[in-house]
Symmetry: none
Subunit: 227 residues, 4 copies
DNA sequence: AATGAATGAGATTTCATTCAT
DNA sequence: TATGAATGAAATCTCATTCAT
């Protein structure tokens, strides 16, 4: 929007040689790419991204090599934000039960704050994680997601508050399922049932139910089996 | 090629019956479309679909009007299979608890049997249900999914087995979340954590956990109402 | 352009032998062709023509050989109507002046009654009379148009009512110009000036002006011959 | 999908500039489009136009957005030439009679000099001015055609040389009819009567007759009626 | 006489990408 | 660093026409 104007001002001052602001251009293209890829999936067009970024199409190639390169950069950016989201929870300062509740709640907050994240994950799964497999970085970024949860779970199992027949990974999948699906599938749900799952009251109700459900499951003492 | 084999599949209306069979051609194109769209999303190519169906590319337009028309037909077909999947459960012949468990289990079975369903739902959500909104039929097909569950829930609440502060729709979303996510997001999960969520043992473990979790939640007597 | 042209299932009830009405089918196709070609030019589609005629597309080929054959048949039909239009004027029973006025008036009537004629002539001129050149018949049909006028003109020149330095062909072109153009070019005139040249009052005004103008010209005694 | 993405004309100042010259490429494509559309109507092929212009087919889309966009640009160009044609007549420096004669004559000259104009008008009328309606510009360009004539007519009526019961618009239609039709319909006339209306002697004869006829009509003092 | 099914060829259009400055 | 111009390859779609009954 007003970015366009800003660029014009810059151009005017550089008379002879034309050293523009490299990082700024790159950043604007990346930002535009995140919003466009999130909005349209791989149908997003390089030309549109460049226009939104107020940059030349050629620059996208200059900085990111190809459309897929740009997509991957945008994807990594989305996961970077995910990792940062959970840092706000100080797992070890809370009781096991509180920590699990806080981690669940943080996930809900993150999905509200960064809806693009869910878009990218949906897209990547349609493409069978084709692009993500190229990225070493994303796996590293996601590591804390499990380890944080694991510390809380282990402590709760040690104190006897939590059942033993569940792993951190399983627990993580449960939570992710309950938090992710209603957002990722909001469109088909709305088309079929006419219910808008993004309404704040609905989201809060869901947050509470999810916490209740997970803690109830963790608190249950298993009878005998374990599979 | 495999033409000889494909010919055999033709229904008996023409005496000699080699070349011209409208229904068979249409059906083969639709079948090919389902597998191609599920595999590649809207990037699937009409030419490939026609080739797989052993038909002329032009015939896809003859029967379905456009690429989007063909996609929509394939989408509806996927939902038709979903509706049929749940018919196997005789909700009213089972106890409320058994009925809920059976419905959850049926969902797991369906997702194993018709993986294309999940692909279509993922794709539609990437496209923000753009195509599904055109279809009156899909909403109708999905109606029983809620009403079946509702009958079981109501009965359980009447007998006092189930808590009262949950609606059939909420329950349905819970179950769908827990069953859908690990399949829909299997690719990114695998890329990040290296865990294959489709292994039979894993699926069975998940089926059991989901049933336990949901029934535990339903059995819980809520202290005071909230929200 | 025309999106959903997907085949609909159609009930069929012809049990045994199926002797349809050959002439009627041919006539309906031709009628449909006239209205479609007049409305859309050569962009008219055989499929649409067949549908309007409630006939099978194949029948158009059966009776007319090809799209161009059908077009030519429609074109000839349009000229047939033109020839018939002028038969209503009994040139020799009227005074020369009255006869010319009547022939002009008949042209105006014809253009109102058979607007398709003008459409075909426009189309043919866009195609540089490519198709009409194939037709012996059309030239024959048009012959009376000149000869009728010629008889009136000759008589008027013999009596001294009409000037001598004009031929029947030239006179015919004048009349045709004044009558044809405002109809043929009504669309661009309307687009540019916003005037609707088809309003009855406008047409009548034009009819009168044309008669006045032509008779005035014919009545003028030329000073010296030129050219 | 995204229709109008056509490049806008951009100033270019490259010194040598053989291969990359935006204006030249654009201009050559437009020029080729004018001749091809005039010759073949909307059946003209983008590929042929590009070939004639010695440009890549893609560039037609780059500069004009779509085939219709290119056609519209060509159409506007044709009307631009029309407007320029009449500028040569200095209406106010001539007597009313001379001015009308000069304007008629200029129209004949224009139709000889720019035959494409007539082709475009014919085509547009076959398409019912579908494209022209999109163009604000054309109506503006045509405005002087009436106002020039109107000034001459008004002056002649003021001096008593011209009759009063005719409007500038009516007069304009008369002139246009007499000048346009023999060119626009030359092909069917030739096919039917074998007369070539484009021969110079024939054109000159027509020019004289038209001027005589119109001036005679204008000079006539109307007896009593008025429409 | 009549028809539904099928096809081949070609048209427009789209888009990522590279050229040349 | 930055850019407007240019391109090739492919995808969708259209349509007249023919096949086989």
């Amino acid at each position: 929007m007003s970015q366009a104007r800003a660029r014009k001002a810059v151009e005017v001052m550089t008379t002879a040689g034309k050293p523009r602001n490299a990082d700024a251009t790159r950043a604007k293209i990346l930002e535009a790419a995140i919003s466009e890829f999130a909005a349209r999936g791989l149908e997003a067009r390089i030309e549109d991204i460049a226009d939104i970024a107020n940059a030349n199409r050629r620059m996208a190639y200059y900085y990111f090599g190809s459309k897929e390169g740009l997509y991957l950069a945008a994807l990594e950016e989305a996961y970077l934000q995910l990792a940062q989201a959970e840092e706000s929870v100080d797992v070890d300062a809370l009781s096991p039960t509180e920590a699990v509740a806080a981690l669940i709640s943080a996930k809900f907050d993150h999905f509200i704050a960064y809806p693009q994240y869910i878009e990218f994950v949906k897209i990547e799964n349609v493409y069978r994680a084709r692009h993500m497999k190229e990225s070493q970085r994303i796996a590293e970024l996601c590591d804390p997601l499990i380890t944080n949860l694991e510390r809380a779970l282990k402590r709760g199992q040690a104190t006897g508050e939590f059942r033993h027949d569940v792993t951190a990974f399983e627990l993580s999948m449960m939570i992710a399922s309950l938090a992710f699906f209603p957002v990722s599938n909001q469109h088909t749900v709305f088309a079929i049932f006419g219910t808008d799952l993004t309404e704040p009251a609905t989201v809060e109700r869901r947050r509470k139910m999810t916490i209740d459900m997970v803690l109830l499951y963790l608190a249950q003492k298993q009878a005998r089996q374990s599979d």
